[in-house]
């Protein structure tokens, strides 16, 4: 049942990305292009997504998930070096192509060879990330 729900979640997520235009890389780059031809579509997508999710978070108070024992605990609210550095690197990559992980998968069927190459590079980046994390810790400890 959990597996079926996961498939359903991915399906609705993907449909939402397609409908909202977030699989169109020019729309994402347009949102980031404040000094060019600015496209505010992404703000509408974010607004549309955050409202139902905020309601869902409210609903979790004092309850349990239907198919699990507990809701995910709130992570430590620490703004770490990795959070800031990682988000900055991600933002740079996101702007260069206009793709982030969700839309990269959702557009794979019609994204051509470029989409496949992006996914390959992204998976490679994810594979080396634990090593990068270790190295950063070592450098930080030495400073």
């Amino acid at each position: 049942m959990r597996v079926f729900v996961s498939f359903l979640v991915g399906s609705i997520f993907g449909l939402g990305l397609l409908v909202s235009g977030m699989t169109d890389t020019t729309k994402v780059q347009g949102w980031l292009d404040v000094f060019g031809n600015w496209d505010p579509t992404l703000a509408f997508v974010m607004m549309g997504a955050i409202v139902p999710m905020a309601v869902a978070w409210r609903f979790t108070i004092g309850r349990k998930p239907v198919l699990d024992d507990a809701f995910p605990a709130r992570p430590e609210p620490s703004v770490s070096r990795n959070l800031v550095l990682g988000s900055t690197l991600f933002g740079m990559g996101w702007a260069l192509s206009g793709l982030c992980p969700g839309p990269a998968v959702a557009s794979l069927a019609f994204g051509g060879v470029g989409g496949l190459v992006f996914l390959g590079a992204m998976l490679a980046g994810m594979a080396v990330a634990p090593g990068v994390r270790l190295r950063l810790d070592r450098v930080a400890a030495a400073v």
Partner: protein, 141 residues
């Protein structure tokens, strides 16, 4: 343009509904980079079937919908160096930050998580600056 905004809002509601369903039923955060990354580095081995099922839906359904409605375009750049650099940065960055647009953006901000808000401020800020440098100054994208 307003049509794009309405479609954006409608698609956004679908994304939020999917994230809400994942949270309320499975008790999980719908973060694309975490779901994929857990499969890549092995940290999500225990629930790999659920991750794979989610990704299968994420890949197949928009694919089928796009073809059924006459195809869709990503308008991705043809510059291979840019595509590869971008993919590497997205892969490393999202895993270092433990989240991306869906995890930190949608799921984090809706919970008023400080980490989600700070992460989103940094990736949008860095993205905006990257567009200025690589599009308006250097003209490579």
């Amino acid at each position: 343009m307003p049509t794009d905004w309405i479609m954006g809002l409608a698609g956004g509601v679908l994304i939020g509904a999917a994230a809400a369903l994942f949270l309320l039923v499975n008790g999980r955060i719908m973060g694309a980079s975490g779901i994929i990354g857990g499969l890549v580095d092995g940290s999500g081995r225990h629930d790999w079937i659920e991750r794979a099922a989610l990704l299968a839906g994420l890949l197949l359904v928009p694919g089928i919908a796009a073809f059924a409605t006459g195809g869709s375009e990503t308008y991705l750049t043809g510059n291979w160096a840019v595509i590869i650099a971008s993919g590497l940065l997205v892969g490393i960055g999202t895993r270092l930050a433990n989240g991306c647009t869906s995890g930190h953006g949608v799921c984090g901000i809706s919970r008023l998580s400080l980490r989600g808000i700070v992460s989103t401020a940094f990736y949008i800020g860095a993205g905006g600056l990257t567009i200025v440098i690589f599009k308006h100054v250097l003209g490579v994208i």
